[in-house]
Each structure stands twice: as structure tokens, then as C-alpha cells.
Symmetry: D3
Subunit: 286 residues, 6 copies
């Protein structure tokens, strides 16, 4: 009889998810995946399981990933020095070649492979494929760091229509065939905007936006667009947070309903966020 | 922090459902709904929630229902005596009129209404609509009790293709416009067969098939087609069980993969059955 | 040789129908069906034949029906008193249950059955199915009498696309699952409006709109929207006529091209109306 | 009131056509059109009306026509002598040019024009268009008289799918661009076969197949495939009748359900044939 | 080895065509075909080859043709005198009959036949088919010379969608079934306008628009809409050129991107025009 | 005038390609791309131009590529020793990681980028994407060298249906997520087989199959399946040629119509092969 009770609890949990599933059914959700959640194997598997589950319950998941640590490690193995300017990797011709190769050939395909092993069906793409991410050189002296000029959503929409989970490596390209390193947070936000996504979820290595960066319990649950200037002035949004939040802000202003920054270190944080009222992390809304 | 732990447990439960969802995704499952699960309001709501959830995770649910108690109650109110012959309601002209009206106008539409309230989209039909259940008079003297001659799956398949949950009241018809009372277990089995369903689930008021009808712990978990003759000889399958099991047997022989008889009195028994390895109740297979 | 002459006359009649068929081909026509034409078996059969013929010649017929007499008779059998307030049936909880059951389970399915016997293909639906007729309580003290807030045309359009004649029982529903009794004339007019129908035809028990209600020869053939206020002032439109004509007026103002009120007691009055220049009954136009 | 009675009779006639319309709905019927029915303007208009009516009630009509008299008249005007060998026009290079021009440019387009004037939509084609009628030189010395080797049904089916009545002039072609004069009876039978038509109707200048060619009352109503050898031996099928009946025989053997030869001189003979049980003329069946 | 060098040159030529093919891929181009290019057999074959090639590389070619010489020759053979008023053939009832017959039955089908022989698939149509070219009597006393009132693009678009090259004979029609002789240049321009074509190419018997009509080297390469009034004043556009250029002007004003008048006497002039930067002949643009 | 003559020659070349374009229109052709044609930038550009041209003229090109030299160079930079066993690279865990990364992240995306720069639209995929190339460990001790067990053509067919040129890197995968290095010749042959391609073209660094490996003029133009055993016995097919030819043989036996091995060092060799009768290189047929 015990088993039945456990199963009965399980059934109640599933039923409790019903309204959330109904809410997102048929909607597009962009997940920006990076940081520790991408390095730790168990967490990686948990994130991919969440994504497959969301796909199966009828949510059009688009996975956008970075791959900083794998790039750094490969550059190191090849004795190519990494240099950062204003928090951005300076990307010379030799470096962009490695960035493209590692992001679209290693990180991207490893994620696709993991989704397939867990029973999902994914297709890996980078911004070069079907000219998906059009970019130009970012102003300033960063080498082949790109500024997005246009997102061609067609290959992403085709993948969704064919039942695949699109997994996107964020290198961009221009009409002359130059390849650019694109900040994955920015790319995810622009892709969400172009797809008129319902939601963008960013996995990070912190609890969310914190009043006091050293106190994980000082989490700010909700941020409206009007709060952002003050939060910047007060230095609560600072450093690497600035481009992330600029991207989310732009997406929301362009019609994405909700943007959330959640802690990728918590197992199944995506499901907890999407399938509970309180959510976790920091939610940005209009 | 406590909330997060609870949510984390919930997330694990959802993730644990993933392989079952993958297994049934895109498949057709016929649910035969009757008995206490249909009378008790909370159970009724739980069954409809389960059905909406299954629909949302990509399973093509077809709900086939009876309505004996509501028919009996209406006949009583109208002073029409109920008479049973070999366990079947003798159905004269006055009775079949009431059967049709209550089943397709009350029970059927009440179920559709409940599904709509819970956020699903359903369409109620009876065997008369688009000539779905073709029948002739059952041999013997039962009045307008029908024997199915043909199932026209088109209106059911149209409903599925349009994203609706088809809810089916089991009255049948012939070319002369006679209406027949059809046993809902038989109809569900024939519909499952015609739709080449993956699975047929029958909600009953007992734990399943019992070795000893008075001992709920004597449940028989699995029955193969070869076991049935012996179980009949030994009287374990008897009385009202015979037509139910004859129907399931025919469905399995015609290609339905699995037929399960589960206890509708247990809340969310459908989910427990479909989303766990052990299942509940009695499973019939080839 | 005589037969050939008769056949030759028949052929000429058919050919004479050609321009009318051409005119309505591919258009949607809503037929509001009620009154004596619905009670007398021969008339009922003639109306259904007309509808099947119109469907076959490429007109998208939508049949909307009432069922007052059958409701009254069932209420009487159940000793539930009928009470009318301002010409509307006061509908308490017990009554609405019977209204829903009789309209969607008896009247509706009997019409579907008759169409099928005559070789057509129909699907019966009520306003609860796929949330087709959304309603709220009508202002005033009428109990569960509904005021339409929205028509979801999707299930009707699906039925048409699948080649079926949709037959609609006019009970409505709200998001809390309350069921409402809806005036069939009003519902037909709102459905015609929502479907952007070409034409709405109302079968009644009189010749049409009469100058002198006691003189069937005082028929008014044509009424424009501008005539209506005067006709009301003069009492020519009065009593039960008011809601009927209000509905037709609203439909025409919303783009339905023509609304006709014809005498359902004349056999094949629908065909005569649609397939002759003079028509019969009263035509309402812009 | 008189008008109403007339209209009521008309309505009854229309309703009487219902079962025949139901029978042919969605089926393909090839009409071979030639002879007097093609020359006399009133008859021509009556035939075109019938065809439009049949199209509108959902029958896929394909009109195949000859044009002997118009060809002869043009040849005469151009002082090109007509020569017949075994009942076939000997067709030299100069003649085939005129045959093609008159059939596809005059007869064909005049028929299309007439259909359009009567409110139908037609598209004229000849066997050259999209390589529809592939042919080779008929054995024997007839010049450019063709023997059909293949029918490409694609352009005909496209026309039907686009809602047009295809009107076909029976000149054929081979891969070298030679054009051939094709017997219209044979072409109609081959087209009916290739389209797997339900029915082929041939309009002639006699009552049908007659026991005694001089006695119009000696009509043979029904001929089965087994009767044909005897009818030939006895000379009842003879002369120009032989190729006509050979064609119908081949069509029926290839699956066309019914072939009828009717009197094109009787107004609306097509409607009388299709919309009455007895039909007119001679019916050929398996 | 020599062959390889030749092949290598050929390959380079093909590759050089790539940007032009890319430019026109999926676009609609109307070719007005007439004059010497239509009479000389080798030129005729070269034009048809070009058209098939353009169709195969993904350009939707629509071929609009005249047929003056063939009409004149037939009228002469029939002793019907040709009379010209203001450069237009006076078209009495007898003449229009011959015009229709020759254009749609001879010229049109001969072109279709030639395309088929060369491996393409074409369908011949005239303005009567599916009421494609609606016209009324041209003002002035020209008999059955027509002024286009409406182009029904549906049959042309159907032909394109079905993979055929539509070949169009320019006779028009009105609702009373009158047939009109339509200037082919005007018809081609109106068809290009109605189809929102990218380009209209007119094959003529001169090098293009010449400064000095007697000096073929005085070709004007480009004419903008603003140049036209001056060119008319100066008499450079005069005589039969006026209607041609009026048509092109109207097409360009209605959105056709480019109109070119090229020398049909040069073999493959269409390919040279479309697949080289300089083009040949005179180009008209906004 | 000179230009015109050159253009006229060009037009003749284009016209000469017409029958070849007609022959392959709508067919699928797999191009195996490797060797020098892949290293030399000008040749690389020429091959991509050819492919875009073929795509534009309606041929469904699928590009399958290897990348040996780029892999070797990266392994060298990373000080990972390359070891070959029976002509196959021994592939340990560290090596397969690099193989996957270089092939799918560098070679593949560089090709896609080049196609895009030249005006085509391509999508890069590897065997991991949507589980396209299923493989198991090749028998023998080669590490992660794979033996294809199944090709999932769906992602390739989707790419074609969406108008893209699929560019495929030949790494494979199994259900446990192991990645395998797959011989590109074998993969191309299996993909051609699975797609039921018309044709497979292999670009190599030699003239074709040579009687005498040192004499480029000893080219064998045609090889039938029956010739292969003898050619093997006589050592004319030997070494690295064996797997290439085994693959082509299997493809032809499975229904691919023609397999050609051509010299990738000759500019536009694909066009020369496809658009001339003699072709170049060695053709393998049934």
C-alpha cells in the first residue's frame, strides 16, 4: 500500500503542474544556458531533462548557450593568450577560429548529444547556419566581437515546426563571411525578441539579483523596467550584470512577457521556476 | 528555504514522469469512464484533471463514458420501471428515448463542461453524430440494446486533429434511424480497436481482477490472453466482468497493445497507472 | 413517352434553379428551426431534405434549433412548473438541467438522426461544446437565462470543413461552468454574425411579418433597417416578434446580407425562398 | 397563392433529385458531346446549363467534344477536299492543321465562352496542352489520324481541383510534335478510363441503340458486356456505332461503372438520364 | 584534353550566370513574343529553349503572344479583306471569328507543341478561358477590338503552381460572350501588372528604341519614366511604338520593376538580356 | 558588337546545358567533398559556386564532407599523435573529441559560411544532430571509428524542403552518446542510399580510376558492377580506393543510378561532369 501512497503524492504533484503547463502550452521560451550548470555533469543532465520535459508538454524551447570555460581551456592548450577588454574577450583572427570551432563543434554538439541520450530530439546550429545571427564589429577595439544587426528566425522556426529542440551556439557572421564572437546573454535576448517569445530564462551562478552581493538571502524577487535606472545608480546592477540585464530589458521592451534570472546551481531550477507561482530567482517584467 | 526543498521534490517527481510521457507522446489512449469515479464530485474532477494533463503532454485521449445511475434516476423520476435481463437493461421505446437524452444531453455535456472549467477543450458526441456507432439489435430479447456493427472513426479523428478531447456517449444507431443502448465497456473496446489505440484504460469500482472477490489484496496484476479461459472456468472472471473482459480481449487481439482495469475510487489512478512502472489494477496483454 | 415529358419538365425545373445555386455556392446560410415545422413529422422531414439538398449544392448550412415544446413536455412529466417572465421561461437550477438535457440530448440528436437517415451527414453540438456559446446571466430576474457574450466559431467551422452539417442546440455556458438557456432566435442571429453568414432564414408559424396579425394576406414582403422603428411604433412588430427582429437587425447591421422570416408550415418553404426570385415570407435587408 | 403552388411543385422536383445528387456527389463523369446537340443553339445552351448544374451539385464533369461539321465547313471554305476512308476522315498535313485550329481554337473556345456566359467557369484544352493526349499514327492509310498511346490526366485533374470544368478538344500529339486527329468517342472513353470516372455519357443523334434502326421505339435499354458479340453478329451494332461501342466497352472493362448513349436532340437529356431511375437511351454495364 | 578545356570554358559561363539566376529565382517574368522571332523556325526554337531554361532555373515565365501574320494569311485564304484603322485591324464579326480561331487554335497550340518537343511543359490558354481577359469594345470604330477591363490571374497562377509554362493568346471576352481582338503588347503589359511581375520583356524586330530609326547603332539603352514625354514630343517614340511604350509605362507605374524591349532577331536575345549586366535593347525603369 | 557575340556564345552554352538541367531537375545528388578541392581556396570557391548553381536549377544537392587535413593539423597543434591502422585513423577518446570539434565546428561551418557569402543558403549538420548518423564501433581495434547502422534522413529532408543546402560532417553517434569518426566516403554512399539519390559524385585528387596509377591518361571511363571483382583481383582497385569503391558499389546496388569519381583539382569539375555527355572521371553503373 505504501507504494500507492507515494504514487498518489506523485500524481498530486503532476496535477499541480497542470495550470502552469496550460499557461505555457504552445508558447516559445528561450533558455540561456551557461555557467556552472553547464560544467557540472549532474546539473547538465538535470537541465537537459527539464528542457525535454518542457518540450514534451508542448512548450517550444529554444536553447541558447555560451561556452566560455571550454573556449578558455582550448585556447590555453593551444598557447593562445586570452585577453579581456571591459569584460569582453579580445578576439583576434586566431581566437575567433577557436571560438567558432569550440562553441559550434564541441559545446553545441555535446549538448545535442546529451539531449538525444535522454530521449529528446535536438538540432545544433550556430549563427552562421542559414545566416541566422547577422552581426557587425562591435564598436571599440575588441577584434572579432560582434554586435547583432539581424536575427533570421527561419531556421529556428523550421526546427520547432519539425519537432526538434534548437540548440544555438552564439557566433555571428556578416555578408563578407567574417565570423564574430557574440555575447550569449545578448544573443538569447535578441533571439527571444525576434521569436516574440513568451519568456526568457537565464541560468546563472548566483541566486538572482542581490541587494547585497555577499548575502544570498538578499534576493530581489521582482524588478520592473522602472526600477532598473535606480538599481544601476545604486550599483546593485553592476559589472557583468549590466549586459545581461540590458539584454533582458530590451527583450521585455520589445514584447517578451517575462524574463527571469535563476540559479543554475539548483537542480531543476527551470522546472521550479516555470511550475510554481512563487518561482525562484529574479523576475523582470514591464 | 523550505519551499525550495518542496519545489525541488516536486521537480524530481515531474522529471521522473519524463520517460512515461515520452513513451505515450502522440499515441491514442481510450479511457472508459464509469462507476463511482463518475458520481463522486471530487473524483470526477480528479479524473478530468488527469485527462487534461495527459492531453497536454501530447497523448490523444478519447473519453468514453456510461451513465447508468443518471439514467436510472431519470427513469425513476418518470415512473418508467427499469428491468434487467442477463445483466442488461431491457430497453423499450420509451426507455431508449430517455437513455439517449440523459447520456448525450446530461452526462456527456456535464463532462464536457467540467473539462472546459478546468481549462481543457472538449467536444461531446454520441454514436448518432456523423453515424459514429453503427449498431443492430442485440440477439435475444433486450429491446433497443445494440450490437456494434461498425465504428466510423472520422468524427473522433477530426476532434483530435482539431485539438479537442472527444467525449463519447455510447448510444448507437442504424440506417433506419433506430437508436440503441450500447454497453459502454464494449463500445470503448471497439472504439480503441477502430482507432488502433495504444492503450485502453477502464475505470471500475474494484481494485482490479481479484482472485477472491472479497479480498482486495488478492489482486491479479497481469493477465495474458492465454490466461483468460482458465480464469473463466475457475469463476474468477464472472458476471458483469465477462462482457468487460471480452471487450478488452477483442481489443488486444485486434492490436491494442495494453488494456488495464483500474480502481476509479483512487484519486488520480489514471496518472498512477500511466506514469509508474508497476501501474495499479490489472493489466491485460497479449 | 409520357414519362419523358414529365422528366423534361423536371429537368427544366432543375435548370431554373441554376442561377440561385450559383448565387449561394460556397456561402454560409444559418437556418433557425423551430415551431410547427419542428413538430409535424412530415414537415420535419421536408425541412431536413431541403437542408441536405442545399448542403449538396455547395451551400454551408448551419442548423440552429430551439425545442420549447419538448422542454415543456418533459418539465410537465417531471412535475416541474413552467413559469414565464416577459415571454421568457424562468429557468431555475432544476429547469436548466432539463433544458440542457432535452435540447442537446433529445431534440438535437433526433435532428441529427433524421438527417443521417435521409443520407446527409450531421454533427450535433450545443453551446457547451468547445465553449461555443459563451454567456452571462441575462439582466433581470429570469434565473439561468443567458445573454451571449461571445461565439467561438471554431467548432462550427471545423464541422463545415469536415463536410458535416452542424446542428446546434442553444444552451450557453460561462467560465464557472454555469449553463444558460439561450433564446434560439438570438443565438441564430449571433452565430450568423460571427460566421459572417450570407443569409439567415428563420422558420416560424406565420406567413411572415403581417400588417394585420389576423390577416395572412397582409404580408409585408420587404423590410429595410430604416422601416423597423416605425413598424415598432405602429405595433406591427410586437410581443415575441421583438427579440426575433432585434436579432435579425443586429445580424444585418453586422454584415449578414439578408435575413428572411418564412412560414415553416409550408412544405419546402426553405427551397422556395432560396430558389425563386420572389421568395416567400418577409425579407429584411439593409 | 397560385405562385406558391407552382413553387411548391418545383421544390418537390428539386427534392426528388436529392438521392441522385447524393449518388454522384464527388464522382467524375465524362460527357462526350457532339452531333446535333452541338449545332442547334438552344440545345447547345441546354447542354451547357446541365453541365454547370451538375458541376455545382458537386459532380466533376469533364466535357470532351468533337467538331466534325465545323471542320468540314472550314475545309470547304478553304477548298480543301474532305476524303473519308472506312468512315474516318483522311487527314493530310494541310487538313490536320485545319482540324487542330478549328477544334481547339473555334469549337473549344466557343463552348468555354458559352459556359462562362451561363455563369460557369471552364478552361479549354486540347491534347497538345501539357502533352495530355499522346498518340501515334493509326495503322492503315489515314494520314494524321491518331491512335491514343497514353492519357496524361494531370492537366484535367488540375482543372478539376481548381474548380474549373475542363473542356477538351481531341487532337493528340507525339514526342516529335506531330499532331493527330483523334476520334472523339474513343478519346472520351480513354479519358474516362484514365480518370477512373464513374460514368461516361455520350450524346448522339439517335434515341440510343435500336433493334430496328428505322424504329425509334425499338430502343434497347440495357446492354451488358456479354450481349455485345451477339449484337454485332446480328448487325444491330454496325457502321459508325462500332467504334463508339468499342470505346465504351473498353472503358467499362477498365472500371468505369456505367456508360450511356443518350439522345442529344432531347433538351436536358443529360439531367433526365442522371436524375431519374429509368434514365433514357441505352445503358452499357458489366 | 581539348574537350576538357572547352568544357571548362562552358562551366565558367554557367557559373557566370549564377548571380543573374539568383536574382530572378522565384520571380515572375512576362515575355511578349511576336514579330520575326515568331516566324523564323530557328529563332522560334531558340526563344522556346530560352524560356524552358529560364523556367528550369526557377523563374516563372509567362509567354504572351500575338499572331498577326498567321491571321492575315488565313483571312487572305478565306478572301476576307483586312482593313486597318489607326494601325489597328478593323475587326468585324467574321474577322474576330478567324482571329480567335487562328490565335488560340493555331499559333497558341503550335507554341505549346514546340515547348513540349523541347522538353518543357506548357499549357495554352486564351483570354476566354476562365474569363482571363475581360474586355469591352475599344472606343472608336474598330469593330471587335477590345479594351481590357480586368485580368483574372487565377488560371495563370494555377498553371504556374502546377509547374506549367502558361502560353497566352490575347483574345478577350465580355459577360455577353462577345470576343475581342486585343493588342498583344497591351495585354502583356496588363498581365505583367496584374501578376505583379518583376519584369516584362518585349521581343521586337528592331534593336530597341532608336534615336534615328534608320541607324541601328543609335540605340537608347535606358529610358526612365520622366524621359517618355520628351521622347514623344521629339518623335522618337511614334507610330506603332506608342501603344507598346504606353503599355510598358503603365506596367512600370503599377510596380513592374523593369521593362525591356529587345531585338527578337538576335538568337537567344532573352538569355543575353537576362544573364548579362549590360543587357541588350532598351530598358525602361522608374 | 563584340560583346554581343561573346554574349551570344554564352547564351549558346547556357542553352546547351538545358537537357542536363532537365534530366536532374527535382532529383537528389549527393556530393562527397574532400581532398585538394577542399584545401585550395579558389577550388573551394569554385566547388561551392557549382553547388549553388545546381541547387538553383532545381537539383537537391546534399554536401557531405571529410576534413582529414584540418583534423591532423589541430591534433598536431595539440601534440596528440596521429596513428593509422589499415589506413584508418586510430581514434582514442581524446582524438574523437578533436575530430568532432574540428569537423562539425570548423570545416562544416566554414563551408556553410562560404556558401552563404556566394549567395546560397546552407545549414550545417553532423551525424549527432537529430541522431542522423547512427553508428557502432567498427570491428577491429580502431577506437572510436564507427560503422554506420542507420541513417535518419529526416533532418536532411527537412533542410531540402526548407530550401537549404544541407552540409554534413560525418561523425556518428550511438544511443549511449558515444561519438564515432566515420569515413566520409562511406557516409556519403550510405546517405545517398538512404535518400534514394539519383547520383553520387565523389571529388578526389586523381583523374578517376586509372589502369596504371602513374599514368593519368590511363583513365577507365566506365565501370559496371560486374567489372569490380576483376579490377580488384588485378590490383587496379587497391588501398584507399577499396572503401571508396565498396561504398559506391553498395549505393548502386541499393538503387542509386550513377556514381562518379571525378578530379576535384579541375575547376568546376562537378558542372563539367553533370552538364556534358562524356562527363569526366570514372562512372560506376549497374
Amino acid at each position: 500500500m505504501e507504494d500507492m501512497n507515494i504514487n498518489s503524492v506523485k500524481a498530486k504533484v503532476l496535477t499541480a503542474a497542470l495550470p502552469y503547463i496550460q499557461k505555457y502550452n504552445g508558447k516559445t521560451v528561450v533558455v540561456k544556458y551557461g555557467g556552472n550548470a553547464m560544467i557540472h555533469p549532474l546539473l547538465k543532465k538535470a537541465v537537459m531533462s527539464d528542457i525535454i520535459l518542457l518540450k514534451l508538454v508542448g512548450i517550444n524551447i529554444v536553447l541558447v548557450h555560451g561556452g566560455g570555460p571550454e573556449i578558455s581551456s582550448m585556447l590555453e592548450r593551444l598557447d593562445i593568450p586570452s585577453r579581456f577588454v571591459n569584460g569582453l574577450r579580445y578576439t583576434d583572427e586566431e581566437t575567433i577560429e577557436i571560438v567558432q570551432m569550440v562553441l559550434s563543434g564541441k559545446t553545441n554538439k555535446d549538448l545535442v548529444s546529451l539531449i538525444e541520450q535522454l530521449g529528446g530530439t535536438a538540432i545544433g546550429m550556430c549563427g552562421i547556419d542559414a545566416g541566422m545571427i547577422q552581426a557587425k564589429k562591435l564598436e571599440g577595439d575588441y577584434g572579432y566581437v560582434g554586435d547583432i544587426t539581424h536575427i533570421n528566425t527561419e531556421p529556428i522556426e523550421n526546427a520547432i515546426a519539425n519537432g526538434y529542440i534548437p540548440v544555438i551556439a552564439t557566433v555571428g557572421t556578416d555578408l563578407d563571411g567574417n565570423v564574430y564572437n557574440i555575447n550569449a546573454d545578448t544573443a538569447a535576448a535578441e533571439i527571444a525578441t525576434a521569436l516574440q517569445a513568451e519568456n526568457i530564462i537565464t541560468l546563472t551562478d548566483i541566486r538572482g539579483l542581490l541587494q547585497d552581493v555577499d548575502d544570498p538571502d538578499s534576493l530581489i524577487s521582482t524588478v520592473t523596467m522602472d526600477d532598473i535606472p535606480t538599481l544601476m545608480e545604486r550599483g546593485i546592477i553592476s559589472g557583468g550584470m549590466i549586459p545581461k540585464i540590458k539584454g533582458l530589458e530590451a527583450a521585455i521592451k520589445a514584447g517578451v512577457k517575462k524574463a527571469v534570472m535563476i540559479d543554475g546551481r539548483i537542480e531543476h531550477s527551470i522546472l521550479i521556476e516555470m511550475f510554481s507561482d512563487e518561482g525562484i530567482g529574479t523576475m523582470f517584467t514591464k
